[in-house]
């Protein structure tokens, strides 16, 4: 693993991990693992905008992305790819970030549609975020309004190729430069923005703690951070509660 020693400035190339291991057997093993990874991807498609319309044909029998080993998955914890399809409103962006942070590494983000690249035709709208990679690292953008399924498949192939070569590691960027991403998030959501995921601790855990992980924005986060509390479960449906508590009891029951 390459250690990052300084915060990369604008335009700097990322230290690319070319590190082949010295043991030839280990090399073969690594390659095998990467090949397996690239051929079995679970995809969480977060259908935020109209671009999602092109996904059903890409997924089903006509273009059939399952032949590439890509399958839809319903929960972020089990997904490898986060597919953001189209414009992301500020309100949705919060949810996308929460989803992204819950995914296990390695994780890949694909931005479909011009709207994720640059706001698309909503560039002037107060309600949509413009540049997805300001808020989370994006592996591949598939441009077009909307991109045809061929383009979607081509983009996915590009990602597969990157994973097989071992160059699809933009997710590490989120940990290494968390301060930058958090700053952009705070710019939209306010200083007291906080997510349930402790990204800094995860960065330490993955060994991806870089000089850009902490900074003035994370200091702000620490200042405003409230300890997480479990959500309160409250059921207040009188008929249901009456039925639950047996025929004998009458009236409203409240369960906390």
């Amino acid at each position: 693993m390459t250690e990052v020693t300084k915060t990369p400035a604008a335009g700097d190339a990322l230290p690319v991990k070319t590190g082949k291991r010295t043991n030839p057997l280990a090399n073969v093993f690594d390659e095998l693992v990467r090949f397996a990874q690239s051929r079995s991807l679970f995809m969480l498609h977060y259908c935020t905008g109209c671009g999602a319309i092109e996904l059903p044909p890409a997924m089903t029998s006509r273009f059939d992305m399952e032949r590439l080993g890509i399958q839809p998955m319903v929960s972020p914890r089990q997904a490898d790819i986060l597919l953001v399809t189209g414009y992301v409103s500020v309100k949705t962006l919060k949810r996308v970030i929460l989803t992204y942070e819950q995914m296990n590494s390695p994780k890949y983000v694909i931005g479909i549609c011009s709207c994720t690249v640059n706001g698309g035709m909503y560039w002037q709208s107060y309600a949509t975020a413009k540049k997805l990679n300001d808020y989370m690292p994006v592996d591949i953008y598939i441009a077009g309004c909307m991109p045809r399924p061929e383009a979607v498949i081509a983009g996915l192939r590009g990602l597969i190729e990157d994973i097989r070569r071992g160059t699809a590691d933009t997710w590490k960027d989120y940990y290494r430069r968390y301060d930058h991403y958090l700053g952009n998030q705070q710019r939209l959501f306010g200083e007291d923005w906080q997510t349930p995921t402790d990204v800094i601790a995860e960065a330490r855990h993955y060994g991806l703690f870089g000089p850009g992980t902490l900074g003035e924005r994370t200091a702000l986060l620490e200042r405003h951070q409230k300890p997480l509390e479990a959500l309160e479960m409250k059921l207040d449906i009188p008929e249901l509660m009456a039925r639950r508590s047996g025929l004998g009891s009458k009236g409203r029951t409240e369960v906390k």
């Binding site: 990369p8 400035a9 604008a10 335009g11 700097d12 190339a13 990322l14 500020v90 309100k91 919060k94 690249v117 640059n118 706001g119 560039w123 002037q124 709208s125 107060y126 309600a127 975020a129 413009k130 540049k131 990679n133 300001d134 690292p137 994006v138 592996d139 591949i140 953008y141 598939i142 441009a143 077009g144 991109p147 045809r148 061929e150 383009a151 979607v152 081509a154 983009g155 996915l156 192939r157 590009g158 990602l159 990157d162 933009t170 960027d173 710019r187 939209l188 959501f189 306010g190």
Partner: protein
């Protein structure tokens, strides 16, 4: 029956003082009414004239005249026609009374207008945020809200990369943008 009702309504509306009725077609009537008379008109339309369906309340910001125009669209299933009641209120302070007691669905339209235009409806059951739950700027549909300036203050744009286009054309889609290329953002440049 419905023919009778419609004639009856026309006669009645023409009798009323202070409102202006224009029949646009056999199924559309436009009524211009003073703000203090609007609830009474709606009451009449709903109660006696069978206009039971409030399909929408729309709002127009006439910034030069300093007025908001509120348009209440009510529909009658019996007569099969739509009455649009137009009224204008002062833009400042932009307060009007709710018609929630006449038409219950008005609660949602009024909440929406409150959010988008900042018109406060007295007596509406809930004037809290509706769709823009994360919004803390000025009401965005007002004409004096400068969307572009707001966008420039809150977002950065990707830089134009001519080679991306060639790459797209060559590959048929899917551009890989490495994080070091993404690093550029207008704000960072401004800071340095």
């Amino acid at each position: 029956m419905s023919k009778d009702l419609s004639t009856w309504l026309d006669t009645l509306l023409n009798e009323l003082q202070g409102i202006e009725v224009r029949r646009r077609s056999s199924r559309r009537i436009r009524v211009d009414v003073q703000p203090d008379a609007l609830p009474a008109l709606l009451e009449l339309l709903r109660g006696r004239a069978s206009y039971v369906h409030l399909s929408a309340i729309s709002c127009v910001d006439w910034i030069d005249e300093g007025e908001f125009e509120l348009v209440y669209h009510v529909w009658s299933y019996e007569i099969g026609s739509l009455v649009s009641a137009h009224t204008r209120i002062a833009r400042d302070p932009g307060v009007y009374i709710s018609v929630y007691d006449i038409y219950t669905p008005a609660a949602f339209f009024e909440r929406d207008i409150h959010e988008m235009f900042g018109v406060f409806f007295e007596g509406s059951p809930d004037m809290s945020r509706f769709i823009l739950t994360e919004w803390d700027g000025p009401p965005p549909m007002r004409k004096d809200f400068d969307s572009e300036a707001w966008v420039n203050a809150h977002f950065d744009f990707q830089d134009y990369q001519p080679d991306w286009l060639q790459e797209i054309e060559a590959k048929g889609g899917g551009v890989a943008v490495r994080p070091d290329e993404q690093r550029f953002s207008r704000r960072d440049l401004d800071a340095s």
